[in-house]
Symmetry: C2
Subunit: 187 residues, 2 copies
């Protein structure tokens, strides 16, 4: 039995490895699209499932396959990855002084069974000045990140005043909900 992390995210690899698991990485090739009518809270699990179905055909049922998707939701709207610096600036300006949700969907498959996990964390940003946003974009270039920030970088340390929920969900992988499933399957 082997664990396959079907995600190209270096942050997910880092968390799963620090959490004590050995695994190999496969990158699913899917369009991360969803029906317009879908409630935003359902999107991460929908896309995680899409990724799972895409990789299941290439893997043995005796492997444990994990996929995940994380989105940032502000006032019922999904904030994706920024398309450029100006977009990243606008995203951070919209998060400034507000609470947003980080929602992850995780799918785990093993021997024909599938386990779905949904985790939501509330994140509260302090007020960001235009100078702080510009400095952060220049120094950390968060263009590959949903919501245009990483909580583990200086903007997260200095400007996130409060979270409610799983911290590692905000980093990108809600380990505390994944761990019990993985350990039960490996027994």
């Amino acid at each position: 039995m082997k664990i396959i992390l079907a995600s190209g995210s270096p942050r997910r690899s880092h968390i799963l490895s620090t959490a004590g698991f050995n695994f190999t990485v496969m990158v699913p090739d899917v369009e991360e699209t969803f029906p317009d009518s879908m409630p935003v809270m359902d999107v991460p699990l929908f896309i995680a499932d899409k990724k799972l179905q895409a990789v299941l055909t290439d893997t043995s049922v005796d492997n444990i396959v994990i996929t995940a998707d994380t989105v940032v939701i502000l006032q019922d709207r999904i904030i994706g990855k920024p398309i450029d610096e100006a977009d990243a600036f606008q995203i951070l300006k919209s998060l400034s002084g507000n609470m947003h949700l980080v929602v992850s969907g995780v799918c785990i498959a093993y021997q024909g069974k599938q386990y779905d996990i949904e985790v939501t964390t509330k994140v509260y940003f302090d007020h960001l000045t235009d100078e702080e946003i510009s400095k952060y974009l220049q120094e950390c270039k968060p263009y590959d990140k949903a919501g245009a920030y990483a909580i583990q970088e200086w903007i997260g340390m200095n400007k996130i005043t409060r979270i409610e929920g799983d911290y590692y969900n905000v980093v990108g992988f809600p380990m505390s909900k994944i761990y019990p499933v993985l350990t039960a399957l490996m027994e």
Copy 2:
């Protein structure tokens, strides 16, 4: 003007440095004792202030001096650093399946003025088996840590299901409350 972090904690140094500040380290030499009658929530700021008074005599008033103390509180009782492996085991067993508080007191002094900060974060641990506790103690040896754990190690990833408050407070330094004071003083 220079920032002096009066704390021997490598985690505090790491956070303050990642947060973008240059500073020098001084280690205050104080007994971390407090009156028996003191309410537990008041202890961290009391000890941070003790550390501050101890180092202020050796530093110029034109430097910004920062001290901090963090305690873990379970059911109104302070959980200190473990005295040995058996004590660490008992501490983690008492945290298992329970919510505890991480409370920090931070004192910042500059030009004869003092700024006091208190931050509390609620931390929820999942159930820990004896095997998980033993494995963690053997691998991570958290004997220098209040509460005998670090949220950034595997036990925190897998077993802390929820926090409410500042994450970096749990690591040991509540940057989101320190940052506005430091930036205001440095303007």
